[in-house]
């Protein structure tokens, strides 16, 4: 009849499935919490483990880049800008769709995907979100 009822009842006594990232409940003060974390006073719970080839924020090895602009050609959202003077590129993470297509095409392997994914910000052009 109601198979869920017994399920639900049993679940009360079971450990929740939740991954407690970053902490169990909201702290009273987020700022203080951050400070405490920095001072290592509080331990935060890690996010769910990332796989090896996770596609996070892009990494750019400026030294390696030869300015061939192939990455710009394939980038679906046109997130990459060519800096003419330097013959280098600039990538806007707020535009990037994390497809890693540019990594594949770059002839010198100057581009890579990191595992950095906590990118939320109130400024879409902040330093952290521009790779050059």
């Amino acid at each position: 009849m109601f198979p869920m009822l017994s399920q639900v009842f049993k679940k009360i006594f079971k450990k929740p499935f939740t991954n407690l990232f970053p902490v169990k409940y909201a702290p009273k003060s987020m700022k203080k919490f951050k400070e405490d974390v920095e001072k290592k006073k509080i331990k935060t719970n890690p996010p769910i483990p990332l796989p090896e080839n996770f596609r996070g924020k892009i990494l750019y090895d400026k030294e390696k880049c030869i300015g061939c602009q192939l990455c710009i050609k394939v980038c679906p959202p046109k997130a990459i800008e060519f800096k003419k003077e330097e013959k280098k590129i600039r990538i806007y993470v707020a535009r990037c769709i994390f497809c890693s297509q540019c990594n594949d095409i770059c002839p010198v392997g100057a581009l890579n995907m990191s595992s950095d994914f906590l990118l939320a910000s109130d400024n879409k052009l902040e330093e952290n979100l521009i790779v050059e």
Partner: protein, 405 residues
């Protein structure tokens, strides 16, 4: 209080995650007329693909026609272009594509099951199903580097291999779901409240399903044995013994109601598990892509000409792309996408008539509408006004804020 009135469901309504509008005429609580107004979610994808993008960019664009089955649209595009440019993907790639497609089906059907439970006001089941679903999400992330968008398929093959490292994880997932299946089936199919809300609700007769060209689980739940993987196989599907699943397999008869649609989707999850397992066992070794050098690949495609129709059995039904290439023209010359929902929403009318407001969400959801692929083109004023419109709203809002201050 019994006079007719109209309500619009959407474009922003909790029951329809995507913007679309159902204009429903009611008498009391009973539905007497339905009209679908689809003009809210158009992003001009076909236009972008035909005018602005090169083929590689369009691949990722196709992936974002819909984020839920983000494998079916690029696959279709790839299949069509492979046919035109005569590219033969390696065998291993074909198997990997099958596995990816079936993983996607599992995640999509489970997602749907959760949403359906939510529409029925059964949030516990939503949570339960989505909890179970995390397993396949983990596998997808493991294999593809992102939980949702796969970015895996490429003209002539796939971009990443399924390696030894992945296989045990996938096998573990399969046994996990085999175990969970019994429980899921019990929770969905034996619960009285769910039965009450879905049995004999939103019935689509077999005759209507055929006439209105319903596709996928919607058609199969009405007893139409139709599945592109069986009828018109692609990738490595001819190697597998796939049959179209109809509800009578489990319960002995077919009504064509919402309940039957649940049955079909649950059984398909099971079927997908078997396909994945077989594919893992039989996977040939070798290359995974026809041409490693992307620049060369692009050049080859650019120099091809012709047209092709590709079909794919997406989780929601048959997805079709028609593509035409012109020599030397970098974007696609012609691109037409027929997403499953596009054709399935025709079935809403016969399903909804005569039922109640309370049934709208579950009936609407029962075809698993992924409207982001269907609602496409919409308002374009003439050139100047187009640019205006954005600025115009901008101005409006600035004024409003000023007034508040």
């Amino acid at each position: 209080m019994k006079h007719d009135y109209e309500i619009s469901v959407g474009p922003i309504h909790p029951a329809l995650k995507e913007p679309i509008m159902l204009r429903v005429t009611l008498e009391g609580e009973e539905i007497v007329d339905v009209d679908v107004i689809a003009s809210q979610n158009h992003r001009g994808i076909e236009w972008i693909g035909m005018n602005r993008n090169n083929v590689i960019q369009s691949l990722y664009l196709a992936e974002r026609i819909c984020g839920i089955c983000n494998f079916c649209h690029p696959s279709n595009l790839v299949m069509a272009i492979e046919e035109i440019a005569d590219i033969e993907p390696p065998e291993r790639a074909q198997y990997i594509r099958v596995i990816q497609g079936e993983l996607e089906r599992i995640h999509s059907h489970l997602l749907w099951a959760g949403v359906a439970a939510h529409e029925l006001g059964f949030d516990t089941l939503l949570h339960y199903v989505w909890m179970v679903r995390e397993k396949v999400m983990d596998v997808l992330e493991e294999v593809n580097g992102n939980r949702v968008t796969k970015a895996i398929i490429m003209y002539g093959g796939v971009r990443r291999d399924i390696t030894e490292r992945h296989v045990p994880k996938i096998r573990k997932m399969i046994s996990y779901y085999r175990e969970a299946f019994g429980k899921l089936a019990e929770l969905f199919l034996e619960d009285d409240t769910i039965k009450k809300r879905t049995r004999n609700i939103g019935v689509l007769k077999k005759k209507d399903a055929i006439k209105l060209a319903a596709a996928g689980p919607t058609a199969r739940a009405s007893g139409v044995k139709k599945d592109v993987r069986q009828d018109f196989p692609y990738f490595a599907y001819p190697d597998f013994d796939i049959h179209a699943i109809t509800p009578d397999e489990l319960i002995g008869y077919t009504i064509g109601d919402v309940y039957d649609r649940i049955v079909v989707r649950l059984l398909e999850v099971k079927q997908s598990l078997e396909i994945i397992e077989e594919a893992l066992n039989e996977m040939p070794s070798g290359e995974i892509i026809y041409e490693k050098k992307l620049v060369k690949l692009m050049a080859k495609i650019k120099n091809s000409e012709g047209e092709a129709v590709a079909r794919y059995e997406a989780p929601r039904g048959e997805d079709i792309h028609y593509v035409m290439l012109k020599k030397g023209y970098e974007p696609l010359y012609s691109w037409k996408v027929r997403a499953p929902t596009y054709i399935n929403i025709l079935s809403w009318r016969p399903m909804l008539l005569g039922y109640q407001i309370a049934d709208i969400p579950i009936i609407a959801a029962s075809i698993d509408p992924c409207l982001s692929c269907t609602n496409r083109f919409a308002v374009v004023k003439n050139g100047e006004e187009k640019i205006m419109s954005g600025e115009y709203f901008h101005k409006l809002s600035v004024e409003k804020t000023r007034r508040i201050k």
